[in-house]
C-alpha cells in the first residue's frame, strides 16, 4: 500500500494512477477463492498476495486461468518453485531457507532439534521441515521430534512443547505464526528455559517480540530485510512506514513493498504487446529496498535473507 501510495504521489505509472483493490482471504481457502474471483472480475492487472502458501495454492489455478500475474511477497513453499505459471515469488524458496537454517543451527551447536509445526499452513511447513530435516541430517544433525498442530483449534501449547522436548533436543524449531511462536516460546521458556530456539522466517515480525517478551530472547530467525541497514533508502522507508501506519514494518510488509516496486517498474518498462509476466521476467533486475529483484523464467527469485537473533527485545543481525 505504501509503495503504491508513494508511486501515485510521484505521478503513477506512465502518468496513470494505480488503483488498489483489497480483499481479505481470512486464511480461509473458500474465502480466498472468492476474494480472488472478485479481483479478477474487477479486471485487476496484477494481484499482490496471498501471504501464505495454503491460500496461494487455493487461488493459483484461478489466477493461471485468468492469466493474471500474482506476486506473493512471502510464500516459499516448494511446490511453487520452478513452475512456469503466473505466480511470482519475492521470497527465497523455503527449501533454500530451511537449508540455511540447518547450517546456522549447526554452527550454533545445535545437533538435535525438536520441531513444532502448524498444519494449517502445511504447504509451507511440511516442505520446510522436510528440507530442513534433509539438510540437517546431511550435516550431522537430527530431528528428534516433529510435533504437528493445528493453530485454528487452539491447542494447548504447553502440551505441544512438552511433546517436542521428549527426546531431549538441544534446540527447538517452531514453524508457526508469530503469535503461536510466541506462545510456544512462552511455554518453552517455562519448561525448558534457556533452550535454543529458532523460528522460520514466517514468524519474523514485531508481534513476536511483543508477545514473546523475554521468552523469545535469543530466538534465531531469518528476515527478509536488514532492519539495521544504515542506507538512506532503508531509513526513509522505515520513516515513511512508521509515519503512515504508526508502527514498524514486518517482513511481509517489506517483501510486499519490494513486490510492488518490482511490478510497477515492470509495468513502466513493459512495451505494448508484451504481457506483464513477460515484462517481469525480461526487465529485471528491479531495484528492491535493499537488494535487486531478479525473476527467473519461472518467476522465482533468489533472495538474500538475513539471520537475526532476538536480543533485548530487538532483532539483531547475526553475522
Amino acid at each position: 500500500m505504501l509503495a503504491i501510495e508513494q508511486r501515485n504521489a510521484a505521478g503513477g505509472i506512465l502518468g496513470r494512477p494505480i488503483e488498489l483493490l483489497v480483499q481479505d482471504d481470512g486464511q480461509n481457502s473458500v474465502q480466498a477463492m472468492e476474494a480472488v474471483r472478485a479481483l479478477v472480475d474487477a479486471n485487476v492487472d496484477v494481484v499482490v498476495g496471498p501471504f501464505t502458501s495454503a491460500m496461494t495454492a487455493a487461488v493459483l489455478p484461478q489466477m493461471n486461468q485468468a492469466r493474471v500475474v500474482i506476486i506473493s511477497p512471502t510464500i516459499a513453499g516448494e511446490e511453487f518453485v520452478g513452475k512456469d505459471d503466473y505466480l511470482f515469488r519475492i521470497n527465497a524458496a523455503a527449501v533454500t531457507n530451511a537449508g540455511n537454517y540447518a547450517q546456522m543451527l549447526k554452527l550454533r551447536g545445535v545437533h538435535k532439534v525438536g520441531l513444532v509445526y502448524d498444519l494449517d499452513n502445511r504447504k509451507f511447513t511440511e516442505s520446510w521441515s522436510k528440507a530442513f530435516e534433509a539438510a540437517f541430517a546431511s550435516i550431522g544433525g537430527r530431528v528428534v521430534a516433529a510435533v504437528p498442530f493445528e493453530s485454528n483449534r487452539e491447542p494447548a501449547f504447553g502440551a505441544l512443547v512438552a511433546k517436542a522436548l521428549v527426546g531431549k533436543p538441544d534446540g527447538l524449531v517452531f514453524l508457526a505464526t508469530p503469535v503461536d511462536t510466541a506462545r510456544l516460546a512462552q511455554q518453552s521458556s517455562k519448561m525448558a528455559p534457556g533452550l535454543a530456539m529458532a523460528t522460520s522466517e514466517w514468524a519474523a515480525s514485531e508481534n513476536l517480540l511483543e508477545l514473546g517478551g523475554p521468552a523469545v530472547e535469543g530466538m534465531l530467525t531469518l528476515r527478509v530485510y536488514n532492519r539495521d541497514d544504515p542506507s538512506e533508502r532503508t531509513r526513509l522507508f522505515l520513516e515513511a512506514y512508521q509515519a503512515r501506519f504508526s508502527r514498524a514494518p514486518g517482513d511481509s510488509a517489506v517483501a510486499a513493498y519490494d513486490a510492488a516496486t518490482a511490478l510497477m517498474e515492470a509495468l513502466v518498462r513493459k512495451s505494448s504487446g508484451e504481457s506483464l509476466k513477460e515484462a517481469l521476467i525480461r526487465y529485471g533486475p528491479f531495484e528492491g529496498l535493499q537488494q535487486p529483484i531478479l525473476f527467473d523464467a519461472n518467476g522465482d527469485t533468489n533472495r538474500t535473507m538475513y539471520f537475526t537473533e532476538i536480543r533485548a527485545g530487538r532483532y539483531a543481525l547475526v553475522k
Partner: protein
C-alpha cells in the same frame, strides 16, 4: 410591396418557447434560490448529524469500556493478597462472568509473570499454559507499570490466546497487575449495534488507521488503512476537519470522534453532495418540479396556442374569403380583445374595400365609354368588361370574359390587331382601328390603352369609343363645309351690296332724326312760349284789373272830394286802394317771377349752358313754369327734392327740358281720361354717388309690349292727338349723351310708371 421579413415562427412555437422560457427562468431563479438557501442548510445539518452520531458511537464505546473498567476495578478491590493461586484462579474465573465481554483475566506480577488466570469454562484447559507466562514485553504491561493506573491497550494478538484482543490493565495493590483481555469481536459487535441504527456510514479505526468495524458489511475491515486520510490526520492532530472526505469513490461529510481510552477514532460520514439523500431529494424535487411544470407547460402550450390560433385562423380564413371575392358571413369573435380588434378592423377594411369595389364597379359600368381589362400575363384574356363595352361590341359579358380579343373575333384580322397595338405603343396611347361587333358589323374605334402594373398582375386597360358614326358625320361635314364656303362667299357679296344701301338709308334716317329733333325742340319751344304767354296773361290781366280798379277808386274819390268827404268815404277809399294795390302787387310780382323763370328756362333751354346748380333749382323752376298747364288739370305734383346737397355741374337746360317732358308725358298719357292722379318727383343721391331723380305717377302705366321701345323715336300712342313720339327720345338722348347719365323706366300696367334719372355730379365735358 411586402417586406421580406426575417423568418417568422408559428404562434404555437412562440407560445411553447415562451412557456418553456418562462418556466426555465422561473425555476432557475426560484429553484436556484431554494437550492442556494436550502442546500447549505442541509449540509450544515448533515455535518451536525454526523458529528453527533460519531459522538454517540464513541460514547457507547466509552460506556462499554467504562463498564468493563468498573468490573475490573471492582475485581481489583475484592482480590485478596495472599490468596492461593487456586483461590485467585477461581475468583478470576468468577469475575469473568458469563458474558462474552472478557475472555480472560490475568493476575500478573510486577515482573510480568502470570500468577493467576481466569478463563471461560471451555478454555480452562489452557490455564496451565498461561500460568507462568511472561508478558513483560507487551506494550500494555509496560504501560500499566509505567503509569501505575488503569490503561487500555490497542488491539493486538494475544500471546496467551492468539486472538485479536483489546487489553485493559490496572495495578492492584502495590505489586500486582490485573490484565483483562476483551475479545475485539465483543467490542466490535457493540460498536456494530451502536452504528447499525445510524444514518451515517461509520468506520471504527484504531490508532494506526486500520479499519475495525464498518457499516458496509465489513468491506473495509482489514483491507483499508485510513490513517493517511486528511480527515483522520486532522482528527489525530486535533485540527479542524476538512469539509468533505472521500472513501471508496464516494464523498462524505465527516464527523470524527475519539475514544480516549483506546485511542480509537469513530469516523462517521454522511453522503455529501448529491449522494446525500436529503440534498438529492431537494434537488430532485426542484428538478422534478421544473421538469414537471415544463412538461405540463409544453403539453398545455400547444393546446392553448391552438385555441388562440383558432380564433386567428378563422379571422385569416375570413380575410382569405374576402380576398377571393367570396361573400361570407360574420366576422369571427373570440375571447381576446386584440383579436376582436383585428376582426373589427378587418371587417371595416373589408367593408371599405367592398364599397370601393362596388363604387369602382359602378363607375366602370356606368362609364359611357367601352372599357375592358385584359391580363397581360395570360395571353391578353379579358378579365372584365363594362356594360358600355357590351353595348359597343354587341357581345355578352359572360362570353367575353376569359377569352382574348382575338378569340372573340374582336379584330377583323390579326395584322390589324398587331398594327393597332404597335401604333399604340409608338403614339403612346390613342389609336384608331377597326373592330368587329358581335353581330358582324365592323366599327371604327378610337382606343386608348393604358398599362397597369400591379403587385401580382400585369393588366391592360382599353377604353374604346365607337366613332363610326362620328367619323361619317365628320366626313359629311367636311364636304358640306367646302360647299358652304362657296355659298358664303356669294352671300357675302350680296350682303355687301345691301350694306351699302342700308348705310345710305341709315344716313338719311339720321338726318331726318336730327331734323325732327330740331323741330321738336322748336315745337317745345313754341309750346313753352305759348305756355309762358298764357301764364303771364293771367297775372298781368289781374294786375291790370286791379290797377284799373284803383284808377276807378281814385276817380270816384276825386268825385267824392268835390262833394264833401266823409270819414267813411276816406276809409272806403283807403280800403279799395289797399286792396287794389295788394292785388296788383301780387300779380305783378307773380308776373315778374314768371318772367324770371321763363328767362331762366329759355336761357337754359336754348343755349345749353353748363353751370353748377342744385337739382332742386331746376325742378322748382320747371314745375313753376308748367304751373299753369298743371293747374288746369285735376292732377297734382308732389315734390320731394332736398334743397341742397345734390349739387350738379351740368346743363340745367336739358335737364329741365327732360323733366318737363316726363311730366308732360305723365299728364298726357298716364292720366289720360282720369279724374285724378299724382306725380311724385323725388330727388336723392344713389348708391353710386350719382344724383338721382325719380318721376313716378300712379297712372295707367305703359303696356309691356311698348316698354322696351319707349325711348325709341316715333314711339307714341297718341299719334295725331298731340304726341310727336319724340319727347322721350329727346329726353333720353339729352340724359345719356349730354348729361352723361341714365334714364330708365319701370311700369306696371294699371298701376303706374316710374322714370328714373341717374346723373353724375359732373356732366361729361363737351368735345
Amino acid at each position: 410591396m411586402m417586406n421580406t421579413l426575417a423568418r417568422s415562427w408559428r404562434l404555437r412555437s412562440v407560445l411553447v418557447g415562451l412557456v418553456a422560457a418562462t418556466i426555465l427562468l422561473t425555476f432557475t431563479l426560484v429553484g436556484g434560490t431554494i437550492l442556494l438557501v436550502q442546500i447549505p442548510n442541509l449540509k450544515r445539518e448533515a455535518r451536525a448529524d454526523v458529528a453527533r452520531e460519531a459522538a454517540e458511537v464513541t460514547a457507547r464505546v466509552e460506556t462499554t469500556l467504562g463498564t468493563l473498567e468498573s468490573r475490573l476495578e471492582f475485581l481489583g478491590q475484592t482480590l485478596q493478597t495472599g490468596a492461593t493461586m487456586q483461590q485467585s484462579n477461581a475468583m478470576l474465573d468468577r469475575a469473568l462472568g458469563a458474558g462474552p465481554a472478557i475472555r480472560a483475566i490475568y493476575l500478573v506480577s510486577l515482573k510480568g509473570k502470570v500468577l493467576a488466570a481466569g478463563l471461560a469454562a471451555e478454555q480452562r484447559g489452557l490455564r496451565a499454559d498461561l500460568l507462568g507466562s511472561d508478558v513483560s514485553a507487551t506494550r500494555l504491561f509496560r504501560e500499566v507499570v509505567q503509569r501505575r493506573r488503569l490503561v487500555w491497550g490497542d488491539k493486538y494478538l494475544s500471546a496467551l490466546s492468539g486472538a485479536v484482543t483489546v487489553g485493559v490493565a490496572m495495578p492492584v495493590d502495590s505489586d500486582l497487575v490485573l490484565m483483562a483481555e476483551i475479545p475485539i469481536s465483543y467490542l466490535l459487535s457493540t460498536v456494530q449495534l451502536a452504528i447499525g441504527g445510524k444514518n451515517s456510514s461509520v468506520w471504527l479505526v484504531d490508532r494506526a488507521g486500520e479499519v475495525l468495524v464498518d457499516t458496509m458489511g465489513g468491506r473495509f475491515v482489514n483491507t483499508v488503512n485510513m490513517l493517511n486520510l486528511p480527515v483522520v490526520q486532522a482528527a489525530v492532530a486535533g485540527r479542524e476537519l476538512p469539509r468533505e472526505f472521500e472513501m471508496a469513490g464516494r464523498s462524505y461529510y465527516p464527523g470524527v470522534s475519539r475514544s480516549g481510552k483506546l485511542d480509537w477514532y469513530v469516523v462517521a460520514g454522511i453522503p455529501a453532495g448529491l449522494e446525500n439523500s436529503r440534498i438529492r431529494a431537494t434537488v430532485i424535487y426542484v428538478a422534478g418540479g421544473f421538469v414537471g411544470s415544463l412538461l405540463v407547460g409544453l403539453l398545455l402550450a400547444p393546446l392553448w396556442s391552438a385555441r388562440l390560433t383558432q380564433a386567428l385562423t378563422r379571422i385569416v380564413g375570413r380575410a382569405d374569403q374576402i380576398t377571393r371575392g367570396e361573400v361570407a358571413g360574420q366576422w369571427p369573435r373570440s375571447l381576446i380583445t386584440e383579436f376582436n380588434q383585428i376582426s373589427t378592423d378587418l371587417e371595416k377594411m373589408a367593408t371599405g374595400l367592398q364599397e370601393r369595389e362596388q363604387k369602382l364597379q359602378a363607375v366602370f359600368n356606368t362609364a359611357p365609354v367601352a372599357m375592358s381589362l385584359t391580363d397581360m400575363d395570360n395571353h391578353s384574356v379579358l378579365i372584365d368588361v363594362n356594360e358600355a363595352w357590351c353595348r359597343t361590341f354587341a357581345r355578352r359579358r359572360e362570353e367575353a370574359l376569359g377569352r382574348s380579343g382575338v378569340e372573340l373575333g374582336l379584330w377583323r384580322s390579326l395584322e390589324e390587331r398587331d398594327a393597332a397595338v404597335q401604333r399604340s405603343v409608338t403614339t403612346g396611347g390613342m389609336v384608331e382601328t377597326w373592330a368587329m361587333r358581335g353581330d358582324g358589323v365592323p366599327i371604327l374605334c378610337q382606343a386608348f390603352r393604358r398599362e397597369l402594373r400591379l403587385e401580382d398582375a400585369n393588366l391592360m386597360i382599353w377604353a374604346s369609343v365607337d366613332i363610326t358614326a362620328v367619323r361619317r358625320t365628320e366626313d359629311a361635314l367636311r364636304d358640306l363645309n367646302a360647299d358652304l364656303e362657296a355659298r358664303v362667299a356669294s352671300r357675302t357679296r350680296q350682303l355687301e351690296k345691301l350694306n351699302t344701301e342700308l348705310s345710305g338709308a341709315f344716313e338719311n334716317l339720321r338726318m331726318t332724326q336730327g331734323e325732327l329733333v330740331r323741330s321738336e325742340k322748336m315745337a317745345a319751344l313754341g309750346s313753352l312760349v305759348a305756355g309762358v304767354s298764357h301764364e303771364l296773361n293771367t297775372p298781368l290781366g289781374n294786375g291790370l284789373m286791379a290797377v284799373s280798379a284803383l284808377a276807378d277808386a281814385v276817380r270816384s274819390f276825386k268825385g267824392t272830394m268835390q262833394s264833401g268827404l266823409r270819414r267813411s268815404d276816406l276809409e272806403d277809399f283807403v280800403l279799395r286802394v289797399d286792396q287794389g294795390a295788394d292785388i296788383a302787387v301780387r300779380n305783378l310780382q307773380r308776373a315778374a317771377d314768371l318772367v324770371v323763370s321763363f328767362k331762366q328756362v329759355a336761357v337754359d333751354q336754348t343755349s345749353s349752358q353748363r353751370r353748377r346748380f342744385e337739382l332742386s333749382e331746376v325742378v322748382h323752376e320747371m314745375v313753376i313754369s308748367l304751373g299753369p298747364t298743371l293747374r288746369r288739370t285735376p292732377y297734382e305734383v308732389v315734390l320731394d327734392v332736398p334743397k341742397i346737397g345734390l349739387l350738379l355741374d351740368s346743363y340745367p337746360g336739358p335737364l329741365g327740358q327732360t323733366l318737363g317732358n316726363l311730366i308732360n308725358n305723365a299728364v298726357m298719357h298716364a292720366f289720360d281720361g282720369r279724374q285724378n292722379g299724382t306725380i311724385r318727383i323725388t330727388g336723392y343721391r344713389d348708391v353710386n354717388g350719382w344724383i338721382a331723380l325719380r318721376v313716378e305717377d300712379n297712372g295707367q302705366g305703359i303696356p309691356a309690349a311698348l316698354l322696351p321701345r319707349i325711348f325709341d323715336p316715333f314711339v307714341t300712342t297718341k299719334m295725331g292727338r298731340g304726341g310727336t313720339g319724340l319727347g322721350l327720345h329727346i329726353a333720353y338722348n339729352a340724359v345719356t349723351t349730354l348729361l352723361g347719365g341714365t334714364l330708365t323706366v319701370h311700369s306696371v300696367q294699371g298701376q303706374g310708371t316710374t322714370f328714373e334719372l341717374h346723373l353724375p355730379e359732373q356732366a361729361p365735358l363737351a368735345v
